[in-house]
């Protein structure tokens, strides 16, 4: 086989190169030639093609995502913002939290188990690379209709993949979402979130400063995972031999990842790491170009030194391989022995493959010949940026005009409640979550089905300050709302996650997001995207919570049919004293049940319209962000003052479902009276900015004063107690019947 060296590239300027097959446009390829002043070698082409891909360069989304920066609210909490592996937030007492959500949608459709498993693995390494100990994961999942045959292939595989990988890693899974909708049948969404903790003064960054410092590749050996693209390149450049064997989906080894976590933490503890980067999409290409671009500017790498699982790999394939469980560190020569000793202790293979230079060039050799010689920033940071055209979808006005007002209202509200409660979206997710370890590490204060997951901060890192603090996390996103109005839909996703954090007593601090959309080349999809980003950025400003990072997933569509636009928003909050956390639902009999917030008749995109009528039309509920802010202020202050015995957010299925879930939480019933005349709207409307709480009767006055001070409407509904959910004059259901209907929703479908 001919090695395509820089010398050869200079000698054969007109050789045809397979850039189209690698997904590059004519002008992008020409730009590479202009940058280099010659044609790229096949290895350089491999680097540019992956680094300038939509996935790595955000070329279609960048111009919109800038709003997260330009509209960002003032925040003293933000330590590291967008652009690093993950954002870092100051949570007090010398502690910081880092968190991020990322998609692994397409691989999870192709091979659900490994696709989902490596999604978890990838996001965990992002968190590790910030210098943190990963402390929990959660997943936002979307599947096709529960009754569609392919869902029975995809869902069990995805759940098993998350379960296997996350459980083996020893990270508690503390929450997330499972939502079914036929729009996801060919495009399931697997959005994995990880949160980590670190000392504020020990943040690590992806940077390679200091000429002479060593570049160490450590973790798993490199194999042929995920290099479908590179084989195209190889087959066109070299002889056509056995290129079809390449697996496209990466395969994960959680045991190696667990060793990597402990190994990295010990490396950080020993202070022998100058810069660090995980290897995810685009593998060695991404890690070397990004480290070099953010450091002194140059790096030399001998690709022959990369330890291989498959010795037949060519340099182009090594550069593009997405083998899992690998990290790259920059280490001073003096620290190399200590670094290697720690890796050895944890049985983690580690190899020096290169050195930092001050040449401003990333130079790679293979068999002694130079095969890559590029300015690293041109691949890492200066990719193409597109202003893609967008316009409102042709049917949008008609969709918005087809409101739920025309739908016949139910006669029997008891039956409506049970129908919703037993539907796949509202029903218990225990079938899924019982496959996840929520206890490991012993710091889980709240986990599913609580509104938000919560962890106490203790014993996480040696030398750190004792603290009573805890962190809370929630993810939310409603594709139906976003389809009806992407601007409002994105705001409602943020509002719900923000509210879910607040109902546990934590103060929302910062945001991560995973934006799942169809093809950016479709102007109608691009409109949904631009509206969603605009809505989210505006809402973040109003709520005072900055976006710290996230991920965009485009091309979630089959043929010309895109998924419902699905912005998934994760919110991180902090609670000063974790012992003051508020548990979900009704925690004891004899408590007063209060409804906070204002109920309007809002059924557009509602669970009722979806489940009972299969209808999607009209407008989503209003996003009243000032009201959300007031509600959160009440909830966090009430928790800190010990006024709340239990709480629950109102969302899908409205007050009726919230009451039922509150009864199910501890098996405590309630008797309530609806304040208004329209029982159906009061029970099933999905107005935002509402929560259900229970307080001791003697705490009621203080709590009501607090609500008044924040202008949050507070209606007394009744009392907890008994063994039934009773809405006077409307419905009466034994808690055991609620439980039977609720818990059987998923087992009925998935066994």
């Amino acid at each position: 086989m001919t090695l395509d060296s820089v010398t050869r590239a200079q000698e054969t300027p007109d050789e045809r190169q397979p850039y189209v097959e690698l997904g590059m446009k004519d002008d992008e390829y020409q730009r590479v030639r202009d940058i280099l002043g010659r044609r790229p070698t096949s290895s350089e082409l491999a680097i540019y093609s992956v680094m300038w891909s939509e996935h790595c360069s955000y070329k279609s989304s960048k111009v919109h995502l800038r709003q997260f920066g330009t509209k960002a609210p003032e925040s003293e909490a933000l330590l590291v913002g967008m652009g690093e592996n993950a954002g870092v937030v100051d949570i007090g007492d010398g502690w910081a939290a880092t968190f991020k959500i990322e998609s692994h949608n397409h691989p999870s459709y192709v091979e659900p188990h490994q696709g989902a498993a490596t999604g978890v693995g990838g996001i965990v390494r992002d968190i590790m690379s910030m210098g943190a100990r990963p402390v929990a994961v959660m997943d936002a999942l979307r599947f096709g209709g529960a009754d569609q045959p392919d869902t029975r292939r995809v869902l069990p595989g995805v759940v098993e993949g998350i379960s296997h990988y996350g459980n083996c890693l020893g990270l508690p899974n503390i929450g997330g979402e499972v939502v079914f909708d036929p729009c996801y049948i060919g495009n399931p969404l697997v959005n994995a979130l990880c949160v980590g903790l670190l000392r504020k003064d020990q943040i690590k960054l992806a940077t390679a400063p200091g000429p002479g410092n060593k570049v160490v590749l450590f973790g798993a050996r490199t194999g042929a995972d995920g290099i479908g693209g590179a084989s195209v390149l190889a087959s066109a450049t070299f002889e056509d031999e056995s290129q079809a064997k390449r697996p496209a989906v990466q395969v994960g080894d959680p045991f190696m990842e667990k060793l990597l976590i402990e190994c990295c933490l010990e490396l950080y503890q020993a202070d022998v790491v100058v810069g660090i980067q995980d290897l995810g999409a685009a593998g060695v290409s991404c890690a070397t170009t990004e480290l070099a671009a953010k450091g002194t500017g140059g790096m030399e790498v001998n690709l022959n030194l990369v330890p291989l699982r498959d010795p037949t790999l060519r340099p182009e394939e090594i550069l593009m391989s997405e083998s899992q469980e690998r990290m790259m560190a920059v280490v001073t020569p003096d620290d190399i022995p200590a670094f290697m000793a720690i890796c050895d202790k944890w049985d983690v293979p580690a190899t020096v493959i290169g050195e930092v230079t001050d040449t401003g060039r990333l130079v790679m050799t293979w068999d002694g010949e130079v095969i890559v010689d590029i300015p690293p920033g041109t691949a890492a940071d200066e990719g193409p940026v597109y202003e893609r055209p967008f316009h409102e979808p042709a049917g949008q006005a008609a969709l918005n005009a087809d409101g739920p007002e025309r739908l016949p209202r139910p006669e029997d509200l008891r039956e409506t409640l049970l129908t919703l409660l037993g539907s796949p979206n509202v029903g218990s997710k225990e079938w899924v979550t019982s496959q996840y370890d929520r206890y490991v590490r012993g710091n889980t204060v709240l986990a599913q089905p609580a509104d938000a997951g919560m962890l106490r901060i203790s014993e996480v890192m040696p030398g750190a300050q004792e603290t009573t603090r805890g962190i809370a996390l929630a993810t939310d996103g409603n594709g139906r709302y976003a389809k009806l109005d992407p601007y409002t839909g994105a705001q409602l996703a943020l509002a719900e996650a923000y509210r879910n954090v607040a109902v546990t007593g934590a103060k929302p601090l910062a945001v991560t997001n995973c934006l799942n959309f169809g093809s950016p080349e479709d102007p109608e999809v691009m409109w949904q995207f631009s509206e969603a980003v605009r809505g989210l950025a505006d809402a973040c400003r109003t709520l005072g919570v900055p976006v710290t990072g996230g991920n965009v997933s485009f091309y979630n569509q089959t043929g010309s049919t895109a998924i419902n636009p699905t912005p998934v928003v994760g919110v991180l909050g902090v609670i000063d004293d974790v012992a003051q956390r508020v548990r979900s639902g009704f925690t004891a009999p004899g408590l007063r049940v209060l409804l906070l917030g204002e109920t309007r008749e809002e059924f557009g995109g509602s669970e009722w319209a979806h489940v009972v009528h299969g209808h999607l039309g009209g407008l989503p509920p209003q996003a009243d962000l000032e009201a959300e802010r007031g509600l959160a202020a009440v909830l966090t202050e009430a928790a800190a003052r010990g006024l709340l015995e239990g709480s629950h957010d109102l969302s899908d299925g409205g007050l009726a479902v919230a009451l039922a879930e509150s009864c199910l939480a501890q098996g405590v019933g309630c008797t309530v009276t609806l304040p208004g005349e329209d029982a159906f709207a009061e029970l099933f409307s999905e107005s935002a900015a509402r929560a259900l709480v229970c307080v001791r009767p003697e705490a009621f006055d203080a709590f009501a004063d607090l609500c008044a001070r924040h202008e949050v409407p507070c209606s007394g509904l009744g009392l907890t107690g008994g063994s039934a959910l009773t809405v006077e004059g409307v419905l009466d259901v034994p808690v055991e019947e609620l439980r039977e209907v609720h818990t059987s929703a998923l087992p009925r479908v998935f066994g």
């Binding site: 959680p254 590490r441 106490r456």
Partner: protein, 227 residues
């Protein structure tokens, strides 16, 4: 008098070691980290083999750990009477090491399962269960994919006949274990293995909605003080 010293073993892939050490400390003992690659029990008074996926559960759960340097020290010490508690993967290792009879196989439902499980205490005549009452029902978390206890008929008969079934699942068998067995002990009663996790049930704020796990540690501490 100095505090009792309980060793907590870490293999590559051990996950619940932090929890185990915390549970030991909360009971008032000193938790001594023991490393799989050392031929050194550091003179501890008892050993806790925590859960996890040691060596990635490759080959068979516990099959590789059983040959580690630390286990070559622990096996004779346990046979000589050193109190040893193995939970989950620790139980699997004890079976692989033949310190306890039988084996743990794939759950009947084939799924990993994490839930708060009712358990009946069947024997208080072990080093780790004296503080319970015979027949007491407790709640501990289970979280495993391979927790189905199996053994041949003669072994089962011996375990039952000699009162060596220490814990049985109550309110539904989660994994298909024979005779609903959740935990067993050796003839001498110093070695106990169980699938449930007492270390996740020692605090009000975190873990399972019970603190029933505390009795394991108060039991062993009393025993060590009286020894």
């Amino acid at each position: 008098m100095s505090a009792a010293r309980v060793g907590v073993v870490t293999f590559p892939g051990t996950l619940d070691d932090q929890d185990a050490a915390r549970a030991v400390r909360l009971a008032g003992a000193e938790a001594v980290p023991l490393w799989h690659a050392d031929h050194d029990l550091k003179g501890v008074d008892a050993v806790f083999l925590p859960g996890g996926f040691s060596y990635g559960d490759y080959l068979r759960c516990g099959a590789i750990s059983r040959f580690s340097p630390l286990m070559t020290e622990l096996i004779p010490a346990a046979q000589a009477g050193l109190p040893v508690l193995g939970t989950c993967n620790g139980f699997q290792i004890l079976c692989e090491a033949h310190l306890l009879p039988g084996a743990l196989t794939r759950n009947e439902g084939l799924h990993y399962i994490c839930r708060d499980q009712r358990i009946r205490v069947e024997s208080t005549r072990t080093a780790w269960t004296a503080d319970f009452a015979d027949g007491q029902e407790i709640v501990l978390p289970i979280k495993h994919g391979e927790g189905r206890y199996v053994a041949d008929a003669a072994t089962l008969a011996a375990l039952e006949g000699e009162g060596r079934v220490v814990f049985r699942y109550a309110g539904g068998n989660p994994n298909g274990s024979l005779n609903d067995i959740a935990g067993i002990t050796n003839e001498a009663g110093n070695i106990v293995g169980l699938m449930p996790h007492p270390e996740h049930a020692v605090e009000d704020l975190t873990g399972a909605p019970s603190v029933d796990g505390r009795h394991f540690f108060t039991s062993i501490l009393k025993r060590l003080v009286n020894a």
